[in-house]
């Protein structure tokens, strides 16, 4: 029971500070789940991001499901997902009920002008901290660079990248085995 409570609380904390989309969750999960508690390692963290990207829907829910399920199967998945979703649910509910003018409050606006560039930095950091675990070397660096450019400048959906990269990995290792 104590374990479920801390699982819920950790994802509640992660949900509460995930500003700016699902990817902003990555550094928080890395800090809390990979570095601090060592519930999963860096490689699994990358695998979980790939899986979360290939399932439909909300990235944050997908990541919570993976971590929860791995640790305590279905009850774990439910606990982690509830924790991740509840903060945004409660905050939006409060705004819908009381604060329809929320975004025009000047203090809120200036606070967010400070937070936004920090969130961009938060998303950029895992690129470098995870590179080694992902197997990025001078010889393989073209893969992530090409993927980033295809999505950023080419507007390609990440789903296709996931499919192509999976296929590429499989073909490459089969070639090598021969």
């Amino acid at each position: 029971m104590k374990f479920y409570f801390s699982l819920f609380f950790i994802f509640f904390k992660i949900g509460l500070f995930t500003l700016g989309g699902g990817y902003a969750m990555l550094p928080l999960i890395e800090t809390e789940i990979v570095d601090k508690r060592r519930w999963i390692d860096k490689k699994e963290f990358l695998d979980l991001t790939a899986l979360a990207q290939s399932a439909p829907g909300v990235l944050a829910v997908n990541m919570a499901v993976f971590v929860g399920y791995k640790l305590r199967s279905l009850p774990g998945a439910v606990t982690a997902t509830l924790g991740a979703v509840l903060p945004s649910f409660l905050i939006i509910l409060l705004i819908a009920v009381f604060l329809r003018d929320f975004r025009h409050i000047p203090v809120v606006e200036s606070i967010f002008m400070g937070i936004r560039p920090a969130v961009v930095a938060l998303i950029a950091v895992p690129v470098f901290t995870l590179a080694r675990a992902a197997g990025v070397t001078w010889k393989t660096a073209w893969v992530p660079v090409l993927c980033a450019l295809a999505v950023w400048l080419g507007g390609l959906s990440p789903v296709y990248i996931v499919l192509l990269a999976g296929l590429g990995g499989w073909l490459f290792c089969r070639e090598k085995a021969k």
């Binding site: 829907g57 279905l74 905050i91 975004r103 203090v107 937070i115 930095a121 950091v125 950023w152 089969r174």
Partner: protein
């Protein structure tokens, strides 16, 4: 019955969305504004902005707000939020089970070798997409970005503390 309508609509939104929040927006707009008329266009734009200012995934924020606006009570918000999460939850349970069972097989190992490289690129693209005029308004934003990057990368600053600090500096500087 409005709750069932909300549940059905947001289940569909959760099911047919791949690749994160932003492609989701136009799909949600189509369903919520044009098809069902639960929100007006102006209100919709406002909520997109509010979603960017509140924690949590944009899909969940939109579901909670629309549910409340359409049904005028807690249960509308709860039905829409549950519905938007449910498809990902189910699909992800199945994927995770399969992965954990077969993660040591050579084929799965090979596939994930390729995937890990690509994911690093995808994370980079997520950061690059956010380098725009809305997030970077001047040299102060650039400075906040540089300091944040160093603090987390080099000095292992906790991301939560960083967000709090960045918010405080925005409040002081702007």
């Amino acid at each position: 019955m409005i709750y069932w309508q909300l549940f059905k609509t947001f289940f569909k939104i959760g099911l047919f969305n791949f690749g994160g929040g932003y492609p989701m927006i136009s799909f949600i707009q189509n369903e919520v504004v044009f098809k069902h008329g639960w929100l007006g266009t102006a209100e919709f734009t406002d909520i997109v902005a509010v979603s960017q200012m509140t924690p949590g995934p944009i899909g969940i924020n939109m579901a909670t707000y629309t549910g409340y606006a359409a049904a005028h009570d807690f249960w509308g918000a709860a039905a829409a939020t549950l519905a938007v999460c449910l498809p990902s939850f189910i699909v992800m349970i199945l994927l995770t089970r399969y992965f954990l069972r077969h993660q040591d097989s050579p084929a799965v190992k090979a596939v994930f070798k390729g995937l890990r490289l690509a994911i690093v690129g995808l994370i980079a693209s997520a950061a690059l997409v956010l380098v725009n005029k809305e997030n970077f308004t001047g040299w102060i934003s650039g400075l906040i970005f540089a300091v944040s990057f160093l603090a987390v990368y080099r000095f292992k600053c906790n991301p939560i503390h960083l967000i709090l600090l960045a918010g405080a500096s925005g409040w002081l500087l702007y």
